[in-house]
Symmetry: C2
Subunit: 221 residues, 2 copies
């Protein structure tokens, strides 16, 4: 019975996520979900993306956190419209669900948005199972987390479209290289796209922006 209940919840969630994605496609907005452990650099990546996008007001972010408005505040400072959802008020605190995401969509000006990011709660397990309406999902894994995270959290790699290896500037100090983590990702999913990134040095940012532009072009294609 526990399994049936959770399947019913997921089916409801996925139906709402599909409706959200269709609305965003119709509005010409690419929606990208970001998943990672706490502190892998999701917000830092979005801050850097705001700087690289030309007009940051054409990006938008829905941020999930158990508590605080801190990440939305950081992104607003960059000129990005940002809505914070505190998941402790929405049933399961450990991940975003399609319902609160759909509920805040109306507060965003979709007509003037190129890309909507949904930054999930820092958690490599629970968010993976809950679609929110994204066209693409990226998982961030920091070199500081060690090389074994893809094998330990396989669904985070199997059910996302891009693996971003973050904080590659820390490689010499943690003894974990981009190559090692790329190999670890490929052991779980042989042909997965992997991108090395450091918001500190700027490495990988251009490739990330290019990935976004290509995904957006496919949306219209």
């Amino acid at each position: 019975m526990r399994v049936d209940l959770s399947r019913a919840v997921l089916a409801d969630n996925d139906a709402l996520a599909d409706a959200t994605r269709e609305a965003l496609t119709a509005a010409g907005v690419l929606c990208v979900g970001l998943l990672s452990s706490p502190g892998a650099g999701k917000t830092a990546l979005l801050e850097a993306t705001a700087d690289a996008w030309g007009d940051p007001s054409r990006l938008a972010v829905i941020v999930g956190d158990v508590a605080t408005e801190a990440d939305a505040d950081r992104l607003r400072l960059k000129g990005v419209p940002a809505v914070q959802i505190n998941t402790q008020h929405h049933g399961a605190a450990c991940h975003l669900a399609a319902e609160p995401v759909a509920a805040v969509l109306a507060t965003l000006d979709l007509a003037s948005t190129d890309v909507l990011f949904i930054e999930n709660v820092g958690n490599l397990v629970c968010p993976v199972g809950f679609r929110l309406g994204e066209h693409r999902r990226a998982v961030l894994i920091s070199v500081a987390e060690g090389p074994d995270k893809p094998s330990k959290y396989p669904k985070a790699v199997l059910e996302t479209d891009l693996a971003i290896v973050t904080k590659v500037d820390l490689s010499p100090y943690v003894g974990v290289s981009l190559g090692e983590l790329t190999q670890a990702v490929h052991q779980v999913r042989p042909h997965a796209d992997v991108l090395g990134l450091s918001t500190r040095t700027g490495e990988g940012l251009e490739a990330w922006v290019e990935w976004l532009r290509e995904a957006r072009a496919q949306l219209h294609g």
Copy 2:
């Protein structure tokens, strides 16, 4: 109804956790739970503890991971009896629960164990709500995760007995100090015990072993 169900699940879990803790107390075994984000250094801390304890065979570890036997293998190499639980086979993959923990207790030689560690799935949210039979719980937060994790995951600090700030050797490279993270912990819980640690330099290890010995002494007192 969703809330009632989860309360019933938690009540069952807590009753079993209480029974486990009583059995461990009777056997003179201190049980310490470790919680953290993925890659904060739980297994590295246990490897270092094995080296520092004198006789590593008098420690024991129950390790939770979504997948792989990797952490248990690392600890066995150090001479520590270790049992791996893969949570993907136990309902909720995102945390350990009292039932699988109680089920593997029988495989451990409690009579010759000083301290049993339970290393949870890397996740700062879900494991917090599920007691497993621990006498004490410690949360590990790496300086590489940034200074904002205590405020974003407040229960991880509020419902544990010790906050261990790990990888302090990385402080100069990530721009986050032990002092800053200590302050962040104290903003959530003013008098929380905080310990800075680096398994690379050995900083904090002696204090950690002392904390364990004191907790064990209180068990018998």
